[in-house]
Structure formats: structure tokens, C-alpha cells
Point group: C2
Chain length 182, copies 2
């Protein structure tokens, strides 16, 4: 058997998919749903990306595929992570350094060229972002209440969500005040 164990390092999308497969075998459809409700906050590949990646993982020996016939539903293909897949994911996590922050922020770009519009328009856009962040902050609080406090890893991701939302809110409040005072 000659699976192309090509040892290329995983893309972030590969890692996200292998990650949810590490929780159990599932179809592409289920991968999508699982991603959306979990890691989707930090990496949410498109459905078509998932369907494109899964066969490639099989090709590289990182997962296996098994066709499952269904009577009440369309047939599906269930993917299962392999030992090699787990190892590749572990290697991806440990490979240092982590790619730097993306830092692509269209709103900030608007602010940067803000002199082309009015302070009010800009303040409105910033306010909208703040309201978003406030909603997100509340959502994190709700998650926090329900969550298992011993699960360090999801606790840390929630902590980042709260810290980030907080930064947005602080910045936006100050920016709105400054812009509305012109």
C-alpha cells in the first residue's frame, strides 16, 4: 500500500479538519457542523474547502474513508483519522513559530482613510463594531457559565475571546467619543 505520506506540513484548514476528526469519525457534512459550533470562532473553512480537503487527507494516509449507504438520507462518506493523521496534527501544533497574527482589518483601513468621509459616518461604523463585540462578550459569558472549568484549552480560547472583545469595546468607546466631539 503506497499512501503518499508526503510529509508536507499541514495547512491551517487541514489542521482544523483533522482536529475535529480527532474527536470521532464523521462525514464532510458533520465536519462542517462541528467546526461551526466549535473552532469556527478561530478558523472556519468553507464547506467546499472541507469537501476538497478530506479526500486529500485520505490520499496522504492521514485519514480513511468508508462509504455508508443510507436509506432515509443520501449516502455519505465517513472519515476517520489515522495514527499518521494524529501524528501530523501533533507535529503541526508543535511546529514553531505559529504563523503571525493576520492583522487584516478593513475597519481600521476605513479609519486610516477617514479624512475622506465625515466623523459621524466613521463613528457609526465603529459603534456597529462595538455592539458586535458587546454581543460576543455576553455570549462568552454565557459559554463560561455552562462550561467545564477544568477544560483548560477551551477555557483559554474563551479567555482570548473575552480579552479581545474587551479591547474592541475600550477602543471603540474612546474613538466614538473623540469623533463625535468634532
Amino acid at each position: 500500500m503506497t499512501a503518499r505520506t508526503s510529509k508536507r506540513t499541514l495547512t491551517t484548514t487541514d489542521a482544523a479538519i483533522l482536529g475535529v476528526l480527532s474527536w470521532g469519525p464523521m462525514s464532510g457534512y458533520d465536519v462542517k457542523k462541528t467546526v461551526d459550533s466549535t473552532v469556527g470562532y478561530v478558523w472556519g473553512p468553507a464547506r467546499s474547502a472541507i469537501y476538497a480537503v478530506l479526500p486529500r487527507l485520505v490520499d496522504e494516509g492521514l485519514a480513511t474513508a468508508r462509504e455508508v449507504a443510507q436509506s432515509q438520507r443520501p449516502d455519505k462518506i465517513v472519515y476517520r483519522i489515522t495514527t499518521a493523521g494524529r501524528a501530523a496534527l501533533k507535529a503541526w501544533i508543535e511546529e514553531t513559530p505559529a504563523p503571525p497574527d493576520p492583522n487584516r482589518n478593513p475597519l481600521l483601513l476605513k479609519v486610516f482613510f477617514g479624512d475622506l468621509t465625515s466623523p459621524e459616518v466613521l463613528a457609526d461604523q465603529i459603534q456597529a463594531r462595538r455592539l458586535e463585540a458587546e454581543r460576543m462578550s455576553e455570549e462568552m459569558d454565557r459559554f463560561e457559565a455552562e462550561a467545564d472549568p477544568d477544560d483548560v484549552y477551551t477555557a483559554l480560547t474563551r479567555a482570548w475571546g473575552r480579552e479581545y472583545a474587551r479591547a474592541v469595546i475600550r477602543w471603540a468607546r474612546a474613538a466614538e467619543a473623540r469623533l463625535r466631539a468634532s
Copy 2:
């Protein structure tokens, strides 16, 4: 004259490039340099993207191109924003809502699947990110010292940079402590 004033809304890269062209006519090479030293912190298109976008802006009537022969340097093409270009950029800035936060964060993905590796490895990765943020924070302070305090718009972008760095640092410190204590 039939410039295709196709009214499609600009991509973020288009906006960034039109934005620097709004400061004065320049070649693709100079656009790249200018972007890198200014808006690059929030949106830094690749060189190849710039060279691809510029002719399209001309095609759409948002900029004009003029070839300039040089004796001591390779010839170059100087682009100048048009009135339509300015209008399109203004429309992009004012179009609401601003696209939501990208939120694609490979480091957080690593944290999310952190149980596949050791707490130390994870803490090291987080520490690296913190050091990065600390460097950035200092850089912002330096910019702050040199900057014109009356320039609201760049002040606001710097303020975001500081607030963001602060959030990273606070989160990373807590995360590192929690992970190293296992």
C-alpha cells in the same frame, strides 16, 4: 471613451491601493513601499496583488496610467487616482456595515487542540506571541512620540494597535501561568 465604470464595490486591497494613491501619483513599486510603511499594519497586500490590481483600476476608470521613461532606472508606470476613484473609495468607506472581523487565528486553533501536545510546548508558543506583542507595543509608543497629535485618524489606528497588543499580553500572561502550573 468607454472606461468600464462597472460600479462593483471595491475589494479591501483595491481600497488600500486607492487610498495611498489618494496621497499622490506613484508607481506600483512606490505603492508597495508606501503601503508597507503606513497602512501595512492593517492591510498589507502582496506585491503581486498590487501589480495585478493597478491595471484593473485603470480599466475601471478609477486611476490613470502614464509610462515614464527613465535613463538611470528601469522605466516605470505612474498611476494617478481619478475623481471617480476618489468617489469609489469614499463609497467604500461609507458602505455599511464594515466586513466583520476575520478572526482567523492559527495560534488559537493550536490552543483549541492543545490536549494533543504538552502544556510546555503550548506555553512556549504563546510566549512567543506575547514577545511579539510587546515589541509591537513599544513600536507604537515610539510612533506616538513622533506623531502629530492632531492627526485623529492615524492616532486612532495607533490606539487600536496599543489596545490590541495589550489584550494579547494580558491574555498570554494568564495563559502561560496557567499552563506552566500543570
